[in-house]
């Protein structure tokens, strides 16, 4: 007898047994899900809030920061423009994430379901990437302005030798690199653990198409 035929015979026998009553099932409806989509949703929410806070906190807490900003960007239009742009980008990401979550449907085919989850994860990735790049750019621009536009620091830096200057730039680059690496590892770990199985199964389905 074919292996699967034998299995099927036994399998059908199992079909007639019932294990749970209506009473057993009711409480299950109100238990909390631990699905990866739900976890992904909480992570993306946390990311949004975290980066919005990082962007906004200095505006609210530090007067001196605002003063310095005013000094650096003497032209107010630039600052307003940048602020509006950054919030517009955040709104765009919120919209994209919302749309992407809406498109995740458990009644889709397995492959489509996996693809929509991976797409959502990608949007979160781009959001984080955008924030890291924005943070990096503002650091560089800030440093540049500090060197050239602020009278005090301009004098300070003029006394530093080229060798020391190279060292300062090296240290700043190194700190930035370590910072980015730590964040990158953190994300690899979170998403790696969360999506390990999904990725494996998705690749398996993809492999079937290639074979």
């Amino acid at each position: 007898m074919d292996g699967l035929d034998l299995l099927k015979k036994d399998w059908d026998k199992e079909s007639s047994k019932k294990k749970l009553s209506v009473k057993d099932i009711y409480p299950m409806l109100h238990k909390k899900s631990s699905s990866i989509v739900k976890i992904l949703f909480y992570i993306s929410l946390a990311e949004l809030v975290f980066w919005i806070l990082v962007n906004s906190l200095p505006y609210f807490t530090s007067d001196s920061y605002n003063e310095r900003l005013d000094l650096v960007f003497q032209n107010d239009y630039i600052l307003t423009g940048l602020t509006i742009t950054s919030y517009a980008i955040i709104l765009l990401f919120v919209y994209l994430l919302y749309k992407s979550y809406k498109s995740i449907s458990i009644t889709d085919s397995a492959k489509n379901l996996m693809e929509s989850i991976l797409k959502t994860r990608k949007i979160i990735k781009y959001y984080v990437l955008y924030n890291l790049i924005a943070a990096g750019l503002s650091l560089i621009i800030g440093f540049y302005y500090a060197l050239h536009n602020t009278p005090n620091t301009a004098i300070d830096f003029s006394n530093i030798s080229d060798k020391k200057m190279a060292l300062i730039i090296f240290v700043i680059t190194l700190i930035t690199a370590i910072f980015v690496l730590v964040i990158w590892l953190f994300y690899k770990l979170i998403y790696g653990l969360l999506l390990k199985r999904l990725n494996r199964n998705y690749n398996e389905l993809k492999k079937l198409e290639v074979d």
Binding site: G3, L7, E14, L29, I106
Partner: protein, 164 residues
């Protein structure tokens, strides 16, 4: 309204619960993990139920939600076994357990099926449930040809285990 919806859902699930139990049986290997997965599939079914339209059969709809939860959404608890590559295990099983009686053969078969990867299990599950290749391919999102080819490979493997 919610109470009515809840009532009709629970009745339907109670009637068709075996589908979910069978998914759990393939994807878990002990009592606690079985219940854990059953619970998660029930939640997913309940969440999707308001969108369920009567034009599809409730059982067909359950296959999709059940398998999708098992393959994609469910985070395996530590209690369940890790899936291994099929080829590697084959010989070990043969040497340890091979016997001529049907019961022993079933044991070997179940053990072998448990070692398949998640996608292979889904194929076996739908096959055992008498689903045709059209439905199998639609549920998994692969072509019918690929579903057939993969299924034949799995069958051959299971056959060689029983008749070495």
């Amino acid at each position: 309204m919610t109470k009515e919806l809840e009532h009709s859902f629970v009745e339907l699930l109670e009637k068709h619960q075996n589908i979910v139990h069978k998914v759990c049986r393939l994807y878990t290997n002990n009592y606690d993990a079985h219940n854990d997965l059953f619970q998660e599939i029930t939640i997913q079914l309940w969440k999707a139920y308001p969108k369920f339209r009567g034009d599809a059969k409730f059982s067909t709809w359950m296959y999709r939600v059940g398998l999708n939860t098992a393959i994609t959404l469910y985070r395996k608890s530590k209690r369940s076994i890790k899936t291994q590559d099929f080829q590697g295990v084959e010989f070990k099983i043969k040497a340890e357990y091979y016997d001529d009686t049907e019961e022993e053969q079933l044991k070997v078969l179940y053990k072998a099926v448990h070692q398949l990867n998640d996608i292979e299990k889904a194929l076996v599950f739908l096959y055992l449930e008498d689903k045709d290749y059209r439905e199998i391919s639609e549920t998994l999102g692969i072509t019918q040809v690929n579903a057939r080819v993969k299924m034949n490979r799995i069958k051959t493997k299971l056959r060689t285990i029983l008749n070495p």
